[in-house]
Structures are given as structure tokens and as C-alpha cells.
């Protein structure tokens, strides 16, 4: 059906409206803006000093020369995953806290537009948060990754998409179980931390745990990161595996989110969600 005179039926306008809602908030709150970069930078400073401690000891020992760079890049890419998830989850919580979900679900905004706006907001968070942290790593800890920038950006893409998948799952859990499930939403991404191999190769895990780890796109993405930094090449097969797994997780988590929304529609939760 075409729009009424004076109105547009524009998906882009609705997504833009959702983005403007978040930009209005950011614009007037510098602590909020600061918080985007605060955690990544603090995390990076801790690991940066760890690498300065390890650096001289590993400098003459073959592959270990790359350890400081691997650790710092691991910190940066792990943060991309976390920001990717939190970008979706925090945007969703904003609507829950303000009891605005009912208004949104009754507006012409489609569910996929709502999710796309959240994903775009997570990219903003990644650009600001991880961007500042990267700058700190380059300036203060002499991180040199320019030559592997393309390979690492592919790893980043894999991790960001998985962050979105986890974010969708976290949103769905809060929608289904209420704000009581908020803690799960915060914690869920860290559950996969030990299995992702951000700071160590998957081969150090017990063999049975390696099987579990390789079922996660994050393990392949971080292995590809190490291949890029140590061998200076793009591990296409690992990245392709990571992306294929991402597809499975993203579709699966997206389906679960949709089911939780439909379940909310059946149980009458959508209009009354919030604090």
C-alpha cells in the first residue's frame, strides 16, 4: 500500500529515526560518549603494560617476538566483539528502561528495521570505543598492524557479526524473561571468552574443549588474527569457516529473537515491558 499524502513509507527514514533517538542522547551526554571509549582504553592500558613487561623477555625468542602485538590486537578485537554485542543489548535496554518498547512496536517500525538500527549503533560504538583504544595502542605501545590491516579488518567483521548474534540472543532473553534476565545479557558474551582464544591459541585448550571452541566463529577469527600477525598472510579458510558459522549463529539467534517477540505478543508482554 502506498503512503498517505504528506507521508513516506520509507524503511531508511524509520531506521534513521531510531538512530536519531540514540544520537540525541549521545549529543547531550559527554559521560555517555566517554563511556564508549573508557572500558576499551582501560583494558588496553592494562594489557599494554603487560606487553611492555613481556616484550624484552620474548624479543629474541622466534615466534614469541610477536606476542606483544598479538596480545594487544587480541584485546582490540575482543573489544569489538563485546562492543558489537553491547551495542545491540544497550540500545534494547534503553527502550526497556524508558518503557518505550510499546510505542515502538505499535509504530510502523518493522522488527528488522529495529534490529538494523541497533546494529548500526553498535558500529558507532565500535568505531568510537575501539578506535580510541587502537589510537592509544599505536601511540603509546607502538602497535604496528598497518600491513595486516586488511586481514585484521576481516577478523573484525567476523567478530562484529557474532557480537550481533549474541546481542540478539541477549535481547530475546530480556524480552522473554524481563529485566530479571538483564544480568545474563551482560554476561553471555563473556561465557565464550575462554573458548575464543583471543589471547592464546586454541591448541592450548584440552582436546575435548577444542572441539567446542571450533564450533564458535570467534575461535576461527582469532586463529586467523594470529596467522596474519605471525605469518603475515590471510587465512582465507579460517575466515570463511568463521563467516559460515556466523551465518548459522546469526540466523539462529535472529530466529530466537523473533520467536521471543512473538511469544511476547502471545503473552501480552510487549506493551507493558520495562521498569
Amino acid at each position: 500500500m502506498s503512503a498517505r499524502p504528506g507521508y513516506r513509507n520509507s524503511s531508511a527514514q524509520r531506521i534513521g529515526a531510531m538512530l536519531s533517538r540514540h544520537f540525541f542522547l549521545i549529543r547531550k551526554s559527554w559521560p555517555r560518549l566517554l563511556s564508549f571509549a573508557y572500558y576499551p582504553v582501560m583494558q588496553l592500558l592494562v594489557w599494554g603494560f603487560v606487553t611492555q613487561y613481556l616484550g624484552p623477555q620474548s624479543a629474541s625468542q622466534g615466534v614469541l617476538q610477536a606476542v606483544p602485538g598479538i596480545l594487544l590486537t587480541g584485546v582490540l578485537l575482543w573489544d569489538v566483539l563485546v562492543r558489537g554485542e553491547l551495542g545491540l543489548f544497550l540500545s534494547f535496554l534503553e527502550e526497556m528502561y524508558s518503557r518505550n518498547l510499546g510505542n515502538l512496536f505499535v509504530s510502523p517500525l518493522r522488527l528488522h528495521e529495529f534490529v538494523i538500527a541497533q546494529m548500526l549503533m553498535s558500529i558507532v560504538r565500535v568505531v568510537i570505543g575501539s578506535g580510541v583504544a587502537l589510537l592509544v595502542a599505536v601511540v603509546f605501545f607502538d602497535l604496528q598492524i598497518a600491513q595486516q590491516a586488511f586481514a585484521l579488518s576481516l577478523c573484525l567483521g567476523c567478530l562484529l557479526v557474532f557480537g550481533w548474534a549474541v546481542g540478539l540472543l541477549a535481547n530475546g532473553l530480556v524480552l522473554r524473561f524481563g529485566l530479571g534476565a538483564e544480568e545474563i545479557g551482560w554476561a553471555v558474551v563473556f561465557l565464550i571468552g575462554p573458548l575464543s582464544g583471543a589471547y592464546y591459541p586454541i591448541s592450548v585448550l584440552p582436546s575435548w574443549l577444542q572441539t567446542v571452541a571450533y564450533a564458535l566463529p570467534t575461535a576461527w577469527a582469532f586463529e586467523a588474527m594470529r596467522t596474519a600477525l605471525i605469518e603475515g598472510r590471510i587465512a582465507w579458510q579460517m575466515l570463511a569457516t568463521s563467516m559460515l558459522l556466523n551465518l548459522v549463529y546469526f540466523v539462529g539467534c535472529g530466529y530466537l529473537f523473533w520467536r521471543f517477540v512473538e511469544s511476547g505478543r502471545e503473552r501480552g508482554l510487549l506493551l507493558q515491558m520495562g521498569e
Binding site: R4, S10, R14, S20, R99, N100, G102, G274
Partner: protein
């Protein structure tokens, strides 16, 4: 119980047609097969005590609650099949929802102007701020507004897209008599200017008498009576709807109406 359709003499496409609508939560029947219609430009009141099924009915009409059975047509379209064709043409207010508190009044309205696809959102927002006497607080964060101001902002949001159908769940609850009266005047004016149909759930009987052409009385999820406020007063031999409401909700209806 199947109720006959509320008589609507207009031959035009009804704004709302609800047929045998049911909602159950497990063994609990929240709405038990209600049937009614609302004509374009008509205001119909949905009355009933707590738990009568008013909010459940409105939630189903908004598409945020899936009916267990029955059908809903809004503005001539099936809600189940054409939800996203209908939503741009309707709007609502409800005490169960709120707006982002740290955004200003204007920012909130701009967001919703975008969501409803307004081409000239700024002009529409400026008009509504003027009509609802919100110009002075336009740049103030929503969190810093009084309850009355928040209700007016919520009403401004609901009028942004010049809806053809407005679903109002207790729109003047928590307002002082002065602000409440101004809200009712605004709704009357909007209806007169636009020909918008309204479904109004309220506990304020004076408001219902003033605004509504017809009233649907709900009790435990079923329609127990309906008619114009004047017809109900005559039928129950009462001088105000408060007493009619009490007769029905306390089960004195048969005696009183006899």
C-alpha cells in the same frame, strides 16, 4: 456469549470491526468472544472494572497481543494480514508506555515523526506543541515534566500522524480537572476536524458521557451491555453513568434495568 454487532448506521467502511474476539491465558479467559464495530468519526467508550478486559482488547487492536480466536479489521483491512498498512494510520496512548526520559519533548516527537514517515515533521510538531500548550517546555527533558505535561506530550505523539483511528487507554488518568478538561476539548476538536474514530477505555464516567457516542460495558471479558450514554441512563433509570457502571459491575443490572 456472542453479542450482536453494535448498530452503526453509517454505510462507510467501519474504523473497527471486531468479531468473536477471544484471549485466553491458559485456563483464564481475559476476553470471551466480543463482537463490536466503530464507525468512522465515532467515539466509543470501553467501560469496565479492573480486569474486565479493556486493556487486553486495546492491546489486541494494536497488534501487540495475539488473539486466541476471532478477527479484527481496522480501517477496512484485516489486522492479521495488513498490520504494517494499518499502523501508519492509527495511533494510541496508554499509561503502560512512556517516552525516553532524557530526550527533550521536541526530540521525542522528532523520533516518532520519523517513525511515522512524516514529510514535514517540523511543521506538524510546531502545530501540536502550540495546540497542546507545550511550546514553553519543548526543549525540556521529558523526565523534568509534570504528569500533566507528560500526558500532553504522549497525546502529541499520538496525534503526530493525524490518525484515522485513535485508541485511548485512560488518556486523562492522573490529570488535574483543568488539564483533563483541556485534553477532552482537544480530542473533541481533533475528532471534529479530522473525522477520526476513537476507542476510549476510561474509568472517568463524566469523560465517557462527554466524549462517547456509544458505550460498551465489559465485565470479566464479555460485553454485558452497550448503547449510547443517554440510552443506558434511561435503561437503568439512573442519572449518571457512574451509577450505571456500579449497577452492572455489582450485578444489579437486571433489577435496575427491569
Amino acid at each position: 456469549m456472542h453479542d450482536s454487532m453494535l448498530t452503526v448506521s453509517e454505510p462507510r467502511t467501519p474504523a473497527i470491526v471486531v468479531r468473536d474476539l477471544k484471549k485466553s491465558y491458559g485456563a483464564v479467559d481475559a476476553v470471551r468472544g466480543i463482537t463490536f464495530s466503530v464507525a468512522p468519526g465515532e467515539t466509543v467508550g470501553l467501560l469496565g472494572g479492573n480486569g474486565a478486559g479493556k486493556t487486553t482488547t486495546i492491546s489486541m487492536l494494536l497488534g501487540v497481543l495475539k488473539p486466541s480466536a476471532g478477527s479484527i479489521e481496522l480501517l477496512g483491512l484485516s489486522l492479521a494480514a495488513h498490520r504494517y498498512d494499518i499502523l501508519p494510520r492509527i495511533n494510541f496512548t496508554s499509561p503502560y508506555v512512556d517516552l525516553p526520559k532524557r530526550l527533550s519533548v521536541v526530540e521525542n516527537l522528532r523520533v516518532f515523526a520519523g517513525l511515522y514517515g512524516l514529510r514535514d515533521g517540523k511543521k506538524r510538531i510546531a502545530n501540536l506543541l502550540g495546540e497542546l500548550d507545550l511550546e514553553e517546555v519543548a526543549d525540556r527533558p521529558y523526565a523534568n515534566l509534570s504528569a500533566g505535561q507528560r500526558t500532553r506530550v504522549s497525546l502529541a505523539k499520538s496525534l503526530l500522524n493525524s490518525p484515522e483511528l485513535l485508541l485511548l487507554d485512560e488518556p486523562t488518568a492522573s490529570l488535574d480537572p483543568d488539564v483533563g478538561d483541556r485534553m477532552r476539548s482537544l480530542l473533541e476538536r481533533y475528532r471534529k476536524q479530522s473525522g477520526c474514530a476513537m476507542l476510549l477505555a476510561s474509568h472517568n464516567m463524566a469523560e465517557v458521557e462527554r466524549l462517547c457516542d456509544d458505550v460498551i460495558m465489559l465485565k470479566r471479558g464479555a460485553i454485558v451491555d452497550k448503547g449510547s450514554p443517554a440510552a443506558l441512563l434511561t435503561k437503568y433509570g439512573r442519572s449518571n453513568l457512574d451509577d450505571v457502571f456500579l449497577d452492572i459491575s455489582r450485578g444489579n443490572a437486571t433489577t435496575a434495568a427491569a
